[in-house]
Symmetry: C2
Subunit: 616 residues, 2 copies
């Protein structure tokens, strides 16, 4: 057997990598920097990592045969995760199989402005009196007299005396909180930058700030390359738990992306990464654990216990951050196993602890985080909605990337908007909600979620009647559009099973809200405001979300607002304000972490919540 | 030229080492673990590292010719620092050239007992409730609930979750102040030890303590192997300043000795070094800098500025301590460039800040440290006495090791006590003081320090008259005893120049005390107590010290007491009591550091102080 590396070329990206025989095309793609869709973590079950092998496709695997038609198999379509590289290969990667930079990542938010710019990282230029016999205090005391009392580690203490003398007792003290982390030659006080990160399960977003005036200088986002190890946190926890190498791979994966993003931010703003002294990270509990190299195994099984709770204040070197080597990293505090630093950042960004009224914040995603705040009290919970909103487990589901139908409106018939104005290849979560709401409104779906057969369709279905048919498995399905590639039979459909998946996802969040309101002793009508947070939430139509029960129907539409990526917004605040950072720590401990599934009525509420609301 | 290592055998120690051609015998001896006397740092000027080469002694160097008679040169006597190894060599090392374990090192002291045993290092055994869905707080919070809020570093945080689970939520938390440094399996609370060190310029002393009950389990001492790089701090500073390698060599040298001592303590007490969690070090400013790898160059020139002032709280790994790798090191706070952690430890051990009266503490050595305390105020200063008390620069001077005359009494003629009850080979500092006092009392030395010629000797000289003669250089000298080896002509003498050296040393300390009293506005008569601290002080006779002006003659003998090795005693206190450690930090900053040489009257006082006091 040859141990020579074998070339694999990915089209249309024109990326070539060399891998050893025995690697899968998924591994090769990851190596090439392509992030294929693998909600199942490469187990061959989700059928989302479709690629077309242009040259000598080998024998199809069992999973291939299940996922592709005979024609497709003949044309070289395969699942990348199941295809072992045995010879030089050219593979075509369709857009719906691969995350691209064109993925919709929300980085915007309504960030409260920082009124008290007080970053933990600050620089002070000093010109010290030179020591004399009359004034021969220790170097550390001399410097402290000019700034403030500080801590100093041994490596810097070893360098400080010669620094002071070579620089003739002038220079720029770099302080991280109460720690002196460097003493630079000259006056570099105008060169002090920091980065704020939102590390989501699916997407990463970051911004670069001038810590002197708080200005935002650049923004960047990209997919979390960890998706190659599974789409949801549980599959990543499982992967990480298997071996120390896996844990390291996951950490390395996100850190590689973080490095790219930092370099991108620096390029945009024309600054040196060396002038970045702090990086702040807000992410869910699992993402933060993986970033820090903490085994998330206990998060993968009941009772879902995180390792730490308070924020972590680490050295840039500890996490191999490509910023100033003396710089620092702040990782957000956590509320619980599934209510993480991203939620805490959200509390901060929405200033929810100061809000006088009753506020409900919902971050709709694979895990729906729900926060309720009233009179300074905060309740927080997580509910497992599953990956339906991300397009997973939905027959023609896909992420909100180019080619995804992202909006469906009813105008006698259904009309689709496609991301990138290209031919549609699937539908993403927001369109799924739209479609379910439309079909519900016209009566094509019953309150129990049943797609009615052709012969029972109401007249209101109108032109859409012809879209319903029975598929080869005897399941009813609704034809949304025709695709030109990738889909097994060129049809983009909504199946009865898809509706069930949506009901499960909606039910989890709806029941979560109900239980939380009950435990807090608040009726839905008492809610003054609903904040919809997070990337996905920003794309949904409020009325449609209410129509399928995802948002409480009792709330007036104008009381429901989008707050955007509050995780990134909170991360920025913590970067720019020590007070905000302190508030994050306080809120994280103050928030009461509710375990919804412990509520005796949860199962009943969940079953109830799966029933679509009555239409007005 | 051969690059093969060459054997060198040192007798009578029977130590063999292999060195490369071109190394000196001094380097070979250091490699063999022998600490030769090198007050000059190996420059060939002090003539103290005499050895006898038994085989093929090469041509004598210029320094050899100056230091040895023709007969001695012929017999193979050489200075080890000037003799280059060129072939297999057997060398005899006389006792007066080498520090041996029999050197008198004071480790005893009147230590105030620790009433509040509260070491910074403590262990707490916990059995935590296992997490459940009702109680799924983070691991860190769970542990904190059982002990107290703590800080934890990333490496331990990474290990903590699996530790807790493998140990079924039971184990021993190891705390260093507010830092959790380890979580050990089982209940190890009875295995918690610490070591206290006094790191002197010449000698190292250490004790091992059970931190659970404060018991002292073992004690050890040895020479500071750094003496190979020079006898006094200035020569070591000079050596360290030359290159980073030299600095590292000095650090390595003392750390090697510290390692040996820790292993010795462990062997004595039959414990594992792994069970030692803290090491405390008190030393003068230079010794502490060298231990920590901080370049002491600024201490070597005016204005003598140390790098740090507060105590250092370091990781055992930072200083490569052979204790528990998670353990800690506390290095005492400093008062100034020449008033270091050893003096602060002395303040602590004598409880001087709490003393109601006026107390003068003197540590007589190469640097005399002088502390005055009155009504809670503390003044501290250092005065450069030079190495005369250590036997350096004295013709027949030597350290207080085997063969040294350490006591001289007058009983018609002088009578000597020799350490080890062997034939005398030289005299050490305490005998030097005795002899000067005796000669002064009988009128053989004038108040200006002149040794009177034979024809001017008073009758009181009696039997001692015949001991005075003129040497070949035309200098008067006093014959103390006959030596059987090592001395140039077999005579142990006190020369006129030796008396001058003694006057300089005494004058420095006496003037220091005077200036300090003046600056504090206190008259000598107001002193309630004099504490004589340090290794050397313990061996001097108070009345003789007064007779030559080293101690204030105004003070009643019974108000002068020996307090022993207060540096080690203070180090122990800081190990056993966090309150004491806090007190050390407070006292170090509270003490007013006086620069005696800045006093306009210093030179005049110094000149005055060289005149021996009038005899009663």
């Amino acid at each position: 057997m040859s141990k020579q590396p074998i070339s694999v070329i990915f089209k249309p990206y024109e990326k070539t990598v060399k891998v050893l025989e025995g690697n899968t095309l998924l591994q090769a793609a990851t190596q090439a920097g392509l992030v294929l869709n693998t909600p199942c973590g490469g187990a061959g079950t989700c059928g989302k990592c479709r690629i077309q092998v242009a040259t000598n496709a080998g024998n199809p695997s069992e999973a291939d045969i299940l996922n592709f038609s005979a024609t497709q198999l003949k044309e070289g379509w395969r699942l990348a995760c199941q295809t072992v590289v045995q010879q030089e290969t050219v593979a075509y990667v369709p857009e719906q199989s691969c995350f691209t930079g064109r993925h919709q990542i929300v980085t915007e938010s309504q960030t409260p402005t920082v009124t008290d710019l007080s970053p933990a990282l600050r620089k002070i230029y000093v010109e010290l009196p030179k020591p004399s016999m009359q004034d021969n205090d220790a170097d550390v005391l001399r410097l402290e007299a000019a700034i403030d009392k500080f801590e100093i580690d041994l490596p810097l203490l070893r360098r400080l005396p010669s620094r002071l003398r070579h620089q003739e007792y002038k220079g720029t003290a770099v302080l991280a909180g109460h720690d002196l982390i460097d003493f630079e030659p000259g006056n570099t006080t105008d060169q002090c930058y920091g980065v704020a990160f939102d590390i989501g399960t699916t997407t990463l977003a970051a911004s670069l700030h001038n810590l002197v005036n708080g200005d935002e200088l650049a923004m960047t986002s990209q997919m979390n390359p960890q998706v190659a190890f599974g789409d949801d946190v549980l599959s990543r926890i499982q992967h990480a738990s298997l071996s120390a190498d896996n844990l390291e791979d996951l950490g390395h994966s996100v850190k590689t992306a973080v490095t790219e993003m930092i370099l991108d931010l620096c390029e945009q703003a024309s600054i040196s990464p060396h002038m970045i002294y702090e990086a702040v990270f807000a992410g869910n509990t699992t993402m933060e654990h993986l970033l820090c190299g903490i085994d998330p195994a206990p998060l993968g099984q009941s009772p879902f216990v995180p390792a730490h709770a308070r924020g972590l204040w680490l050295g840039a070197r500890d996490l191999e951050m490509p910023i100033n080597p003396h710089g620092r990293v702040y990782v957000f505090p956590l509320i619980g196993g599934f209510v993480g630093g991203d939620t805490v950042a959200g509390l901060l960004a929405t200033n929810i602890h100061d809000n006088q009224g009753t506020v409900l914040m919902i971050d709709i995603g694979t895990n729906g985080e729900i926060v309720l705040a009233r009179n300074g009290k905060i309740w927080a919970a997580s509910t497992a909605a599953g990956p339906a909103f991300e397009g997973a487990r939905i027959r023609c589901g896909m992420r909100a990337t180019t080619g995804a139908i992202e909006k469906i409106v009813l105008n006698e018939d259904v009309h689709c908007s496609v991301i990138g104005n290209v031919s549609p290849v699937g539908l993403c979560g927001s369109a799924l909600i739209d479609l379910a709401a439309v079909l519900r409104k016209v009566g094509m779906i019953s309150s129990t979620g049943q797609l009615l057969p052709v012969n029972q369709l109401p007249n209101t279905a109108g032109a859409m009647q012809h879209r319903v048919s029975e598929n080869s498995e005897g399941q009813l399905e609704f034809l949304i559009a025709h695709a030109n590639q990738g889909s097994a039979d060129g049809r983009i459909v909504l199946t009865q099973r898809d509706i069930r998946e949506l009901q499960l996802a909606v039910g989890a969040i709806r029941a979560g809200i109900k239980i939380m309101l009950k435990q807090a002793g608040i009726k839905a009508e008492a809610i003054d405001q609903v904040f919809i947070a997070g990337g996905f939430g920003s794309f949904i139509r409020r009325d449609n979300a209410q129509a399928i029960g995802l948002l409480p129907i009792e709330i007036d539409l104008n009381r429901i607002s989008y707050v955007g990526n509050v995780s990134l917004a909170g991360s920025k605040l913590a970067l720019l304000s020590s007070r905000a950072r302190q508030q994050a720590e306080t809120s994280a401990r103050q928030a009461k972490h509710l375990e919804l599934s412990l509520d005796l009525e949860f199962q009943m509420e969940f079953a109830d919540a799966m029933i679509f609301p009555d239409l007005p």
